[in-house]
Symmetry: C2
Subunit: 338 residues, 2 copies
Amino acid sequence: MVTLAEVARHAGVSASTVSYVLSGKRSISGPTRERVEQSIKELGYHPNAGARALASSRSNIIALMVPLRTDMYVPVMMEIAIAVATTARTHGYDVLLLTGEEGPAAVRRVTGSGLADAMILMDVELEDERLPLLRDARQPTVLIGLPADTVGLTCVDLDFTATGALCADHLAGLGHREIAVVGEAAAVYERHTGFAVRTLEGLRGRARELGLRLLHRPCEGSYESMAGALARIFDERPGTTGFVVQNEAAIDPLLSLLRQQGRAVPEDVSVVAICPDQVAAQASVRLSSVAIPAHEMGRRAVELVVAKLEGHGSDEVALLEPELTVRASSGPAPNAAP
Amino acid sequence: MVTLAEVARHAGVSASTVSYVLSGKRSISGPTRERVEQSIKELGYHPNAGARALASSRSNIIALMVPLRTDMYVPVMMEIAIAVATTARTHGYDVLLLTGEEGPAAVRRVTGSGLADAMILMDVELEDERLPLLRDARQPTVLIGLPADTVGLTCVDLDFTATGALCADHLAGLGHREIAVVGEAAAVYERHTGFAVRTLEGLRGRARELGLRLLHRPCEGSYESMAGALARIFDERPGTTGFVVQNEAAIDPLLSLLRQQGRAVPEDVSVVAICPDQVAAQASVRLSSVAIPAHEMGRRAVELVVAKLEGHGSDEVALLEPELTVRASSGPAPNAAP
DNA sequence: CCGGGTCATTGAAGCGCTTCGACTGAGTTG
DNA sequence: CAACTCAGTCGAAGCGCTTCAATGACCCGG
């Protein structure tokens, strides 16, 4: 194993000079720099991560805590994780993957041991038990998702309240008066997951303003549960002509069932989805949708955390503006005035 | 920040004693151990990861390299990643998340810097450019997936050749003679991804033995591309009564299209999928399928790598036996002899 | 030709931990 | 009872790096 000292000897300089060449924290003359870089290359030197971390109290690692559950939004989580990992690399950081399993204990372990310089948490609940620990951890933290109380926290999320309102606007604008919301599994609402709750609030609030009738039905995502939910929806509100779906797994079943029942999309019913663009574009009917900007969320989270690590950057809540793309699944309500 | 030395002072022992209490590498008397543990708790001590890594040349980190692409099997990758992370924790290791982006450079960086004690690579191609580096890295490595040449490597994978054969057996046993294979996107085969190629080999080999006619069509996974592929299949082989699907995204479109064309499953055509059980169980027709044991693969990979780190454990290829679960999507061929 | 400033480089002091060898005293053995 | 073992503890030497204060070399204006 090649060490700094060996590089220094090979290049005929002191160890500290090599270190400064590597870090760029002091000016080094051209010739010296070149000699050192040459030696590094020749010897195949790689700085030892542990020694660096010890001497500088910086590990250059960002911890990413992903939810253990895989009951929702798996592709989104994966895309966020990958975006975090690649963006972190461009800033010189590696990513440590923590699962929610250990819960608050993981936070304590990582912040205590200096394993990571900062943390990014996903799948934040409205009253998350990890939050108190974060508020007085010495490591900077960024949340992907929005808890109830954001004081002293930095968060990134799609503005789901605005997303709900946007969906309501779109359908109302097309003349739909009775809207059904096909949501995530009931468990997701029960554990007070922010995005699901907020979307619903946004939908309800705007529906009230616009005088729409709104019916919310959680859905497990299986074909069977979708069939059940759909039957109950048309049973209770036969005049339903607009659907908002926030559950990737339920999309295909919904479209398939509507087709089976002879309800044409978008002629008889309109469907708006809240899902990644790729999913919307691949469905049997190209779906009008509000995109989940997973990549952007991961990227922003890293950038916020890096800014904090570098001293600038403050606590802020970065809400991404939702964008609705109109595709082939939404059109004028069948009985609307022209 | 609390250090070992402070704990030692607080407990009235030497630093080395505290260290031995922590590691258990030397015997410590009951009273002393208790005193030290008490001090650790009172002071809220957490060993510093960097210092540990430097002194012991062990980081207690396993690097996991996941593919950057998200064009296939995303939920499977995620499940493997989560299984790796949780299993690693039970052995005292954390997981560093690397994306394929950096390619071989990431391998060099991690092995060179001692950032990780071992590596697990996913999405291995038949002729993977990272393999030469691994063969003479000092860190143990385990591959999830099977390259062409496994000499000197440790691998975990579902036995996809046997999986293909099993699907052929199942359909042949039900009297089907003409089988269509709906595969992954063409790009997956072009980059020689092991699992896709091997499944096909297994299918072809057994089909030949059993005298089945086999038609393979790659598929992007969108509804549109599935429609195209299906049209070409029935065009070319109108007598097709059996389907093998190895592409999660294509499952729903396939079932939906078959229904639209008035072909009943399993009365007119039988479908066997190669996918996680959850997906098979949630489809509109409960699918007969060979499960992808994602969790098991992740777990096994960690256990193999930990065994290597502990000195026992040798190079071996662990192929998991495929299991076919018969559900509602496969039945006797319509024109078969009773 | 000297005081003051800048630039490039160095030596040495740690960072917090693990681990080796040495030491002690109690228990065992011939 | 001397010789020996062994469990339990300690001191000290690093692990490979960063960083601070110090040292020269050099240039400038006065």
